[in-house]
Assembly symmetry: C2
Homo-oligomer: 181 residues x 2
């Protein structure tokens, strides 16, 4: 079993906030830094916000896609990947009330979520944390790491996803851009 | 978003334990009663064990199966359904490392998990709580309610599932039988 990881927005942390943009829904309080705390790590009492999520098993990816993703996905923490993005996402009840096959059809057949992500590998490293079952304000915390030179590519990636059918079900999304300090 | 529900094994609670059988893996401490505490409810400090799980979205069911399940599934709390079973289940890492299509194939195409459950509806009411992402000792808490006359049918249902290919991936399972007190 996996324990939740905690993302803490506050005055300290190895990731310094470059900008926070609320894409849809209500915003988060301002914070200058983001810290990532593994299970059991001490957490500063002084924080603007805390978001929990658990690295979990895959929900939509088939074996062929899984193998392609595994082959192409780089590790986190590459020395040149000094830029990061933390993008918490909440989807609507309408999304969660769809059956598994309907969600998969929208996710990949109509929206090409996996295919789109694959085009930006290995430049943009990605890790997904699940939080819907934790009673958190978001369903997912998505984490990306890339070199500063890849920022335009990353902007293109998120713009493509935000134009997709899948994103019609997104009710709250905040785009937090970070630089390693 | 859903908050976790807490199942508490202890000396008090509306469900009295008839018997606890460890099917596979390590057991739970003895308890005479089980109480079900909704989000935010006060929890007695004196408990033998506490297990948390969140009612969540469906992971394997397609639209046709979803509609059939919804039509046939009775509500919980039927006056004549005075027997219940709480069956916490932990699956292996090998299960969770399978891709979504591989898990679905084992779950239904090979093991007929949904088809088997449907045969016992509406006699046996069922509710599933997810806990893998919560860092709990189990992945699922399954809850069933039925009339005492349906006990043999329920034994048959769980025996059928335990013989399935899916159950080769079950590492820990405890079968707690209860009567409403």
């Amino acid at each position: 079993m996996s324990q939740p990881t905690i993302f803490v927005g506050g005055d300290a942390g190895i990731w310094r906030v470059l900008r926070i943009k609320t894409i849809i829904g209500s915003s988060l309080p301002e914070s200058k830094h983001v810290n990532i705390c593994g299970p059991g790590a001490p957490i500063s009492a002084q924080s603007a916000w805390m978001l929990r999520g658990t690295p979990s098993y895959e929900r939509y990816v088939n074996r062929k896609e899984h193998d392609e993703l595994t082959t192409k996905t780089p590790p986190l923490g590459r020395p040149n990947a000094t830029y990061a993005a933390l993008i918490p996402v909440l989807k609507s009840e309408a999304w969660w009330n769809l059956s598994q096959d309907e969600r998969r059809a929208i996710f990949e057949d109509h929206s090409e979520h996996i295919k789109t992500g694959l085009r930006y590998l290995p430049a943009i490293a990605r890790k997904l944390y699940h939080c819907r079952d934790l009673g958190e304000p978001f369903d997912f915390l998505t984490w990306f790491e890339f070199a500063p030179a890849e920022e335009c590519a990353f902007d293109e990636l998120v713009a493509t996803l935000r134009r997709s059918e899948e994103w019609k079900y997104v009710e709250r999304e905040i785009d937090i851009r970070l630089v390693r300090s």
